[in-house]
């Protein structure tokens, strides 16, 4: 970014004013993903899972730098510096970036509640959609009626984007996304921006139950055109009961379990709260929710440490 600013200042007399203005505005926009980020309080465990999922959709450089921000509201986003910025910088200044900056934002109150953050996979789905134009392709590949009003098109497009993001999330956290939707937007009907919650849940359940579903087919057709992986279950929900019953972290066995642990943890939480027995018998519900989230975090952290350890050993042996 500093290089862009320096080059714009240096070439201010050569560059057309429109280019200077556009680059300046884009640097301002980009700065919010950097300056608004927290580095000492990052929920590394949650970001790790998203980063891992992102690698399924990015097969070649550039690499992504994921920053984090906390929101004082019940909302999430996963968005980054627009691709056009990098493109414009290279075309007009010859500056090539090796990395892309994306920012994950989540409610401050949920920073240590990974089970409430599984919806970030939904946001990652929107990001992948925007990078590849999936929801627009879906609409164009279906029967495209040129007489459709702009208003109806916008609604159809928004609904496609939401269905895609839900299905994307279901690839990683399975039914957890449907449970979260049912809990956060219960009985919500169709709106201009979002399909009815029940319709969304139904599409996710069809996908997870391997039932034919037109929306799933539509997403997959668009993904195939763009050379991307098709929707598939990329998680494995581990059996965590024997560990969590004894208030011990679970030892994750694979990257599929990294994602699946959020589903397993959510199920464990739902089953346990209101029915606390054994070592949990004297724990309050509030403490149980916090402790189960802690166990999920610790399980993820242990896996991350083991992976880093293994990576270091492999690097040393290869050196």
């Amino acid at each position: 970014m500093r290089q862009i600013i320096a080059q714009v200042q240096e070439k201010i007399d050569e560059l057309a004013p429109e280019i200077t203005r556009e680059l300046t505005m884009q640097v301002w926009a980009a700065s919010r993903y950097l300056s608004g980020s927290v580095s000492r309080e990052i929920p590394y465990e949650v970001v790790y899972g998203l980063d891992l999922a992102l690698t399924d959709w990015v097969t070649s450089p550039p690499k992504y730098i994921v920053t984090t921000a906390f929101l004082a509201e019940m909302n999430y986003h996963f968005e980054g510096v627009p691709e056009q910025f990098y493109d414009l910088a290279e075309r007009t200044l010859g500056v090539r970036f090796n990395h892309r900056v994306v920012q994950v934002a989540l409610p401050q109150l949920y920073k240590h509640q990974p089970l409430n953050n599984s919806l970030l996979y939904h946001e990652l789905g929107h990001f992948v959609d925007q990078q590849h134009g999936i929801s627009k392709l879906m609409l164009m590949m279906s029967t495209f009626d040129p007489n459709t009003t702009m208003s109806d098109l916008k609604i159809a497009l928004s609904h496609n984007a939401e269905y895609f993001a839900d299905l994307f999330a279901a690839c990683y956290v399975g039914d957890a996304v449907a449970v979260m939707l049912g809990s956060m937007a219960p009985n919500y009907g169709d709106s201009e921006t979002h399909p009815a919650t029940q319709k969304r849940i139904s599409v996710v359940q069809d996908f997870l139950g391997d039932k034919d579903n037109l929306m799933v087919q539509s997403c997959n057709k668009a993904l195939a055109v763009q050379g991307l992986p098709l929707l598939s279950k990329r998680f494995k929900s581990p059996d965590i009961a024997s560990c969590f019953d004894n208030v011990r972290p679970y030892q994750i066995q694979s990257k599929e379990e990294v994602h699946g642990l959020l589903l397993a943890g959510q199920r464990y939480l739902v089953q346990s709260v209101g029915n606390l027995t054994g070592l949990w018998a004297n724990v309050s519900e509030g403490d149980a929710i916090r402790m189960i989230n802690d166990l999920v975090e610790k399980s993820l952290r242990n896996w991350m440490v083991r992976e880093m350890w293994q990576h270091d050993r492999t690097s040393q042996n290869g050196a």
Binding site: Q84, H126, V225
Partner: protein, 106 residues
Amino acid sequence: MLTARSTASSPLDIIRLTLEMLSQGHTVPASLSEHFDSVLSSAKKLTQDPSNPPNRTPVEAIHLAFELLSRQALRQELADINGLRDLDKNRASRLLAEMELSPVHP
């Protein structure tokens, strides 16, 4: 997004920027001119048979094709345009105004 949210940037920002430069009478660098021609060509190909898009269509072309399919006035304005060389200052202004009318997000 779980809730509605607007975004300041558009996937067609570079196309808009190129048209703006032309409409202001500024020289468009070759790198932007070539980019404009390439996106326009891919978008037009896509609009010919949207149900059967070419593989790995650039994302900007998808967005422009969508604009073309959904807005007749824009489609007509670009019908005989095959590249930036076919545009003059006035047509670039008209196109820009047409594109600014109702961008469809996301």
